[in-house]
Amino acid sequence: MKRITTTPRNHWQAEVEKLGFGFHTTNVPYWDESVYYEMEMSEILFIEKATAELWDLCLGAVQHVIDNNLYTQFGIPEWIIPQIEKSWSEDHPAIYGRFDLCYKNGELKLLEFNADTPTSLYEAGIVQWFWLQDLDKNKDQFNSVHEKLIAYWKYLKNYLNPGILHFTCLKETLEDLTNIEYMRDCAIQAGLETKLVFIDDLGWDDDSKQFVDLEDQPVKNIFKLYPWEWLMSDDFGKHIPEDSNRALWIEPPWKMILSNKAILPILWQLYPDCPYLLSAYFEEGKLTNYVKKPILSREGANIDLVMKDISLQKTEGVYGAEGFIYQDLFTLPNFSDHYPVIGSWVIGQEPAGMGIREANTLVTDNQSRFVPHLIV
């Protein structure tokens, strides 16, 4: 893995905007093509293999949590447990997830799993691919995101409830809208009938006990870019168990087990010999060098990196009320004070590609940049 500086394309902003990628720059650059990472094929195969194995381990860990009723460690309320278990036993459709991995000195370690609402899908699947076409058409990339999304939606078609597949996200966020509309694009190409409805426009019809869109059409299947913990705390969350349509929510409720950082100590308990896992615990004091993470948090908030009782870096945020976990400290590799994390995608149960986000600190937060890659 090498970090290569290069000259961005002339009018690169216009090039990415032509793709519908409008959030390339906020108050700081987000898409950064002044640099890219060069990977050996052997490294890509290593990441692909690790991703497949981690996915298998995660499925085993979900079964373990359900069998042993470990929900309190995840801060999951009792009323939603039947939904989790039903979605697991009935194998409700799930399509994607993103492992955040640290690759350093030939070792690959799982930092966390974004299993419920992973973003940067469009950047990984489309924007960096078209960047490579302009840079060098003969080079390859670890990237079959687009093909796998379409193929898996085709496969899932037979497992959805009859009717429309709704897509939903928050308003006023172009990043979320881009991710969800890209996913909808792939579903359309797979032959599904789709419709966008913003999550705050969803209605609840108390007479028929069903969720409806703005045309009062019942919601039978709904892909959401909105985390389960928010759904549960919203006023309408309690209607989910009484929904007469038994709508399929994608990602399904069982994904709230994997998207919770409490899964990290569970994975470590179950698979201590796995070379891709870092030791992790619910209890403080078992590790000398560790990262303290809230079990529910986003964008690197409320993280504390500790080495020999001294805090190396601590981030602010509003998370932590549900509890913390402690994970062995495995710092990101340093490329001239740039710290890349690999986001490795699982789509339809298979490794599907990767995106690299680069930060100026050891914690990857909402100031980090998306940097493309290629294979040599």
């Binding site: 032509k18 793709l19 519908g20 409008g22 609402t117 992973p118 973003t119 469009y122 489309i126 691919w129 078209f130 390859d140 990339q141 079959s144 687009h146 093909e147 796998k148 996200c169 928050l170 308003k171 006023e172 966020t173 172009l174 990043e175 979320d176 809208l177 881009t178 991710n179 509309e181 909808r184 694009d185 190409q189 966008l196 913003f198 999550i199 705050d200 426009d201 969803l202 209605g203 609840w204 019809d205 108390d206 007479d207 409806v212 703005l214 045309e215 009062d216 909105y226 985390p227 913990e229 928010w230 759904l231 705390s233 919203d234 006023d235 309408f236 209607h239 986003r298 964008e299 590609g353």
Partner: protein, 111 residues
């Protein structure tokens, strides 16, 4: 690693390109009163968190109605950007369904 070399997008580029327009710079003293239903009273909208964001075109007023015997019946318009008072009024069709019970969780998912 790429299984095909041809990527087509059927929806996203046109839809999102139109979202990526500069927002109009509103003066905070600029007073706008709107309603989405003729049976509802007007209420004022504000730039911050209000109609200013409607320049993201997806966020504008949207048709509100239902399908009956295969035909679409328009019942008016709806916008989550404005007060419920100005969305529903005495329109019985709109009042039959409660909205706004999701979406209070945060600003952006971004993870």
């Amino acid at each position: 690693m790429k299984k095909s070399k041809c990527i087509e997008l059927v929806l996203i580029t046109a839809a999102l390109a139109s979202c990526n327009q500069p927002k109009k710079d509103w003066d905070d003293n600029y007073k706008v009163h709107v309603r989405s239903d003729s049976t509802a009273p007007y209420t004022r909208v504000y730039h911050h968190g209000g109609l200013g964001a409607a320049f993201l075109w997806y966020y504008a007023f949207r048709p509100y109605g239902n399908y009956y015997n295969g035909y679409y019946q328009r019942a008016g318009y709806y916008s989550g950007a404005i007060s419920p008072l100005s969305n529903i009024g005495s329109n019985g069709f709109k009042a039959a369904v409660t909205r706004g019970g999701f979406g209070r969780g945060g600003f952006s998912v971004s993870s």
